[in-house]
Symmetry: D2
Subunit: 289 residues, 4 copies
């Protein structure tokens, strides 16, 4: 096994820490035990953090609230950057009026609401309003009838020459220690192959996610990419995306990448993190020193 680095000594070397959410801060059981100590340490040391996530199922306010409910009340919704926010920014710039149709829960729809257009679930589209649909957005895998609404989405996109936007590019997400659930990114890929059009995707590993968080910092103060470290559990999204944007990266072994596979996965993919750590948790012992 490759050398395991000490997470605390790593973050001591940077001004800003970007965290992936799932597999780093939380998992299917709730918060990663002890993760609150990391955020307390960041606060004490005056370090900045951002949570950079492909989860577009809920708004930053709702995501923050769920951290609070689980005991991590330090999380500020303004520090959460999700792929849903990029989808929203795109719609604001590109859609003038009409209808934005979405696949997902009503919560996910909050992301893409705007007074200029109507935000309707795919189930609400029919022959009387299909001509007003100016974009389709894939937000979340729940909140719709798969058989009815996936088929309907295919036919809307065959008839209308409009952008299709994917706000979460993940293939699947963990549901329990053994089970996963199909994510909306997989459904979007299936629909794209059938209709033969080019969808627009937002989410890691695409640099636009990192740029969005980077700009939030730059809006307030000067910053250099060398002062930021990205912490994630997935080579194909967090690590390659962080690397490509020019950030140092930490692979943590508390999620998708198992300790026994880490070295082999890094070798076989060629995606090399700057550091490897057990998790993003700072141990008591470390804090004492």
């Amino acid at each position: 096994m490759k050398h395991i680095d000490n997470f605390r000594s790593i973050i001591d070397r940077y001004q800003v820490v970007f965290f992936d959410a799932f597999g780093v801060l939380k998992n299917y059981k709730g918060l990663v035990p002890g993760i609150e100590k990391t955020f307390r340490y960041l606060e004490e040391q005056g370090k900045e953090y951002y949570i950079v996530t492909n989860d577009a199922s809920r708004s930053p306010a709702q995501l923050a609230e769920s951290y609070h409910r689980n005991g991590l009340d330090i999380i500020d919704p303004e520090r959460i950057v999700s792929s849903g926010m990029l989808a929203k920014e795109y719609l604001d710039l590109k859609v003038k009026d009409g209808i934005v149709a979405f696949m997902g829960t009503p919560e996910s729809a909050h992301y893409i609401e705007n007074e200029r257009w109507q935000t309707l679930s795919i189930a609400e589209i029919n022959s009387t309003n299909i001509d007003k649909v100016n974009a389709v957005v894939f937000m979340d895998d729940e909140g719709f009838d798969w058989f009815e609404d996936i088929n309907k989405t295919v036919n809307i996109l065959r008839k209308r020459t409009i952008p299709a936007i994917v706000a979460n590019t993940d293939y699947a997400y963990p549901l329990s220690v053994n089970d996963v659930s199909v994510a909306i990114g997989s459904i979007a890929n299936m629909v794209e192959n059938i209709v033969g059009k080019e969808f627009i995707r937002f989410g890691k590993p695409d640099s636009q996610m990192f740029m969005f968080a980077y700009d939030l910092i730059r809006d307030r103060r000067p910053i250099n990419k060398k002062e930021i470290v990205m912490v994630g559990d997935t080579l194909f999204t967090d690590i390659i995306g962080g690397n490509k944007f020019g950030l140092d990266t930490v692979l943590v072994l508390s999620g998708n990448t198992l300790a026994e596979d880490a070295e082999a996965n890094i070798h076989s993919t060629g995606i090399v993190p700057t550091y490897i750590c057990e998790s993003a948790v700072i141990n008591e012992g470390e804090l004492d020193f």
Copy 2:
């Protein structure tokens, strides 16, 4: 537009005609009008025919019955070769016992029943019997709850190292003049991408479909590939598959390939049929002479 050939004069040059079903003999409205004249002519001339189809939703007997109900009572179930039959042959050779789990209607399951194993719908698999599942078969897009059963299939295939068999490789099929429906082939591709395993596919353009029909003839009499012509409406399945197996091919313009696009599609794909015809229907005028 490229030269349009006369369908009757083409079949006069061959001993055996292979037909694709959808877009050639029937469409979403029922039988292609006049197609019975073609089969009457084949019978008069002592030509053999086979229907070579990726439709695994019903057994050959049920498929033949549906032709009969629509007025084409000449169709013999023994002349129907479907990708479901190849899936069945594979299971017979490879599965000894236990459970074969399927996605599809109860009708589609008839294909894969065998006294050696239990044939169960994905919905019937649970923690008490998952260890006995020795194969998963993707048969048809109907007959199951998409959300529940697609997710369940993903998790069965992550846990069990067993073959996953795709009995219909089509992406979508026409439902009306304007609408299509997602086919089980698309669902299988999505699941394959998530679980990262290699599925086994049966269906055109794969040569095994043509070989199966070819062997049915050879079992009774000598035959040469030059005596067979394949008639289909889709360049990517019927024409490239027929070409590759070494058959002459007819592209008909009564289905997936529109008359106005035929030449451009042939040029851009490089998939060149031997002939192009309006349809597989022999006109009255032609029959009179």
Copy 3:
């Protein structure tokens, strides 16, 4: 055919114009005739421009010089943003020492030189120095022996766990009215499939290209994405990339997209430009008014 817009009236509405190079400003014969009038107009009106190109074969200084030699002496090398510059930025942040090996001409290598490391052609790598190679960069399709050096690159990347960087993601480029040439992006894809590792790509349609140009402006003055328009001839790089970054886009018909195919291509891909123009040339008549 869709409505054709007037290029001059479009640029009147924006503060900054991003141009693709090949198919917009120049083609295989040299400069697009009349393109100097567009740059004169931009100068008179006080508009800013950037040339955003996937061409990493030469440095911005060399690219500017080639515009000058052809009579477009207005082009400032500081206004040229190429994918080679992003590759360079990546190396600066990620490679500390050792060797950076490249495929391409000696000119293309200037991009990636740095006093911290040695920049060597693939041909110069052998058993004595392979262990010092810390990155491989695909720059250009010329300047090396394809058989020897592609095979050598495959084996270097199988032995070393290091980043492989693709500085030009194009598949092919036009050589004459009828002929194309294989671009380094295609060679990189072939090598990636063989070695099974994940390469890092820079170039349109990736947003990082647009962000780089956008940051050059922001470093000097405030700017809003609504004040910028992207002009390109290729739906799959210029238009989808510009759209995704949130810019308005102009498809010009002087390059990859032919006038007779434009509408069909837009419909079939779902990639919709804000405007369509014959070319990026402003006619005399337009200038007189």
Copy 4:
């Protein structure tokens, strides 16, 4: 590690053995030591064998001669089935006259010669004869100038609507214990992506290879798929192809699949051989009994 089976006791259960060549009978150093004992045993026991290979670089006569030179003089050229033979069969049925252009060595061209057409190397095609080219065949990675002739092939296939045939679908082949060489299958994939046409591929895992060998047996005597076992070193070609055709399969660990990776590879791909053996060599000890 999964149970390792005894190769001799396996072949005792079958009438016919299909062998892959590279990694099973020979490797980059020459014959697999001891393999002659296996063929002596097959002869003594009156078992039939076929060598089923994706190697189209030389004719069966030349391939047999190379086994003889290395001391395995038992090999009969009539027992060698290569993907080049399928390419030849296809051309015989589909090309009437003109030119068949090929990439490969002069030896590989022997496969595809026929008195009806001229067989010319890509290098020999020019503006005076390009209009007579009726097929392009990818045979072997040697015998041509990669830069000149790959670029020329791209442009021939853009101009002519003709079939492109790939006679070896492998990505790479071993050159020494550490090094591989790019195979013609990879070059064909690169050209296909650039020209956007659909190539016709022959070779494992496609069933047509197995069918060809199966038909050679059937031409002489009745045979059942249950009497044949396929022996190979590669899950993605030999094992999945043999499985799909309905044969029992043996994975040997003397080639592409390393002993330490076999179980993990089988689990992660879902491609399950019927048996696993160290190699296709029958040990002295085994022969004594």
